[in-house]
């Protein structure tokens, strides 16, 4: 690792309001964007709550052709890619296409479109041998999720490496980490990187129902996502996207770009334990955190804010609390820690990138977003989770973590430009 990598543009499509500004306003207000599922009738499902995005593709600048062609996840990715490009002040013509790449994280890609097409092809499940006469030309792009990266590459005119990173619920962190590595090693100078997922569809809701991972708190949807609270009983499914302009630091400086921060460190590990279960000690997550801090040459006591995975399942919140204690020591009890999933839910592969956006904006604004719905902490979660109200707090170094099915544990550290080597 050698070259420093800066974040110079942010684009967000999140529940509660589209765009970077609406997203940050929601987080600072401590309001929640979780509600009863409106995309389909959820009455037959155990968990009937989700954080949905009120997304109007036309208002987000998508052309009629893009609206027809693109699955919802791709629409989110393209809209947030355009916003991050505009935010960074990058005109497309200034980019060297060969030195610009794309990475998009997604856990389940075109699920929503696939399920919609399935119902047509199978006549609502009647046919096992589905009817090819009804095949849509857009089905293939929902079938193979790399279409997300292709659409973003076309949108921004990138001709460097492009790919989809699909490591389940850590995809959003790993996609940005992958992009960081490509810039740091010198393969490219600019990456348009982030993640998009739109899993609020019956099959996704049903599969999380089956393992009882999502909350059944259907009578109180606004307060259903309750990370670290004693009464938490599962996560709230969500959708969303965030994309960034990542730039080699000198490249950004040479054009006078605004730098939100630099990616000081990133690491990922596997627990090799269970596809959905976590060992309570959080050991592998701790290892990822330690490596990220080491890369950033950051003493743990200098972390000003921790953005937790904080999904609101019983096992996760204890797992990562243990990892914070193992890596940050006494400082774990002093540093503000929060989970924005309490407000925007858990958008699977997208949330890691949405959380990085929250971290960069926390540095920018000197404000730490709260953990909403936290009224009585689980005695085993005994750290400062910034309950319910945002807090003014200078942030020069931030740690964000993620944990996902398959055993993936990832961590990223953002620091100030001045600390970059």
């Amino acid at each position: 690792m050698n070259r420093s990598v800066a974040i110079t543009g942010i684009g967000v499509v999140a529940p509660g309001g589209v765009g970077k500004k609406a997203f940050w306003d929601l987080l600072v207000s401590g309001r929640t964007a979780t509600r009863t599922i409106s995309f389909f009738d959820p009455s037959r499902f155990r968990s009937q709550v989700a954080a949905e995005v009120d997304f109007d593709p036309r208002r987000s600048g998508l052309s009629p052709r893009e609206i027809r062609r693109l699955d919802r996840a791709a629409q989110f990715a393209v809209a947030s890619a355009r916003e991050c490009m505009a935010d960074s002040g990058l005109e497309f013509v200034q980019l060297d296409p060969h030195r610009t790449g794309v990475s998009v994280g997604s856990a389940v890609g075109g699920t929503t479109g696939l399920e919609r097409e399935y119902l047509v092809l199978s006549d609502s499940g009647r046919l096992w041998e589905v009817d090819s006469d009804y095949v849509s030309p857009h089905l293939f792009d929902a079938f193979v999720p790399s279409s997300l990266a292709a659409e973003v590459a076309w949108t921004v005119g990138a001709e460097g490496p492009a790919t989809v990173v699909s490591t389940g619920c850590t995809s959003g962190l790993d996609s940005v980490g992958y992009a960081r590595d490509l810039i740091a090693e010198g393969t490219v100078d600019v990456m348009i990187a982030g993640a998009a997922d739109t899993p609020i569809s019956p099959i996704a809701v049903a599969c999380f129902d089956a393992i009882k991972a999502t909350t059944p708190r259907n009578d109180d949807p606004e307060h259903a996502s309750r990370p670290f609270d004693r009464t938490r009983n599962g996560f709230v499914l969500a959708e969303g996207a965030a994309m960034f302009v990542l730039e080699e630091l000198e490249h950004a400086r040479a054009r006078g770009a605004h730098v939100y921060g630099v990616i000081g460190g990133y690491a990922t590990r596997c627990n090799a334990y269970h596809m959905t279960g976590l060992r309570p000690d959080g050991h592998e997550m701790a290892e990822a955190i330690r490596h990220s801090l080491d890369q950033a040459r950051l003493d743990p006591s200098l972390v000003d804010y921790v953005n937790a995975h904080g999904s609101g399942t019983k096992q996760n919140d204890r797992h990562e609390t243990a990892a914070f204690k193992e890596t940050l020591g006494q400082h774990a009890y002093e540093v503000p820690i929060s989970s924005i999933k309490s407000m925007v839910g858990h958008s699977l592969g997208a949330i890691g990138s949405i959380e990085i956006a929250a971290c960069a904006l926390a540095m920018e604004n000197g404000v730490v977003p709260p953990t909403a719905n936290l009224h009585e902490a689980d005695p085993e979660c005994d750290l400062d989770y910034v309950p319910n109200e945002a807090r003014e707090h200078g942030v020069d170094a931030v740690l964000s973590v993620g944990s996902g099915f398959g055993g993936f544990q990832s961590a990223m550290v953002l620091t100030r430009e001045e600390t970059a080597r």
């Binding site: 089956a210 393992i211 009882k212 269970h274 596809m275 959905t276 279960g277």
Partner: protein
């Protein structure tokens, strides 16, 4: 109708596969499922199939708290009796 150990073994095998090393027999009624190689997902899947086959609904708490085959049979038969 009582749900027997044989019923449980059949459903467990369907839901979570078989493993000859730790076959579930009457001698192992009190051996924890985890020691028999069945994890929480296996029990969730087994509970779901029990509901389909026998109409016996185990609550979330039941499934979380059950540790051994004997406990599973006690609770699922209790539930079946209530449903009947």
């Amino acid at each position: 109708m009582t749900i027997t150990l044989n019923d449980l073994v059949r459903v467990l095998t369907e839901c979570a596969g078989a493993d000859e090393d730790v076959a579930l027999t009457a001698q192992k009624l009190d051996v924890p499922f985890t020691d028999l190689g069945y994890d929480s997902l296996a029990l969730l899947e087994t509970a779901a199939l029990m509901k389909q086959r026998f109409g016996a609904t185990l609550t979330d708490e039941d499934v979380t708290e059950i540790e051994t085959p004997r406990e599973f049979l006690d609770r699922v038969n209790h539930a079946a009796a209530q449903a009947a």
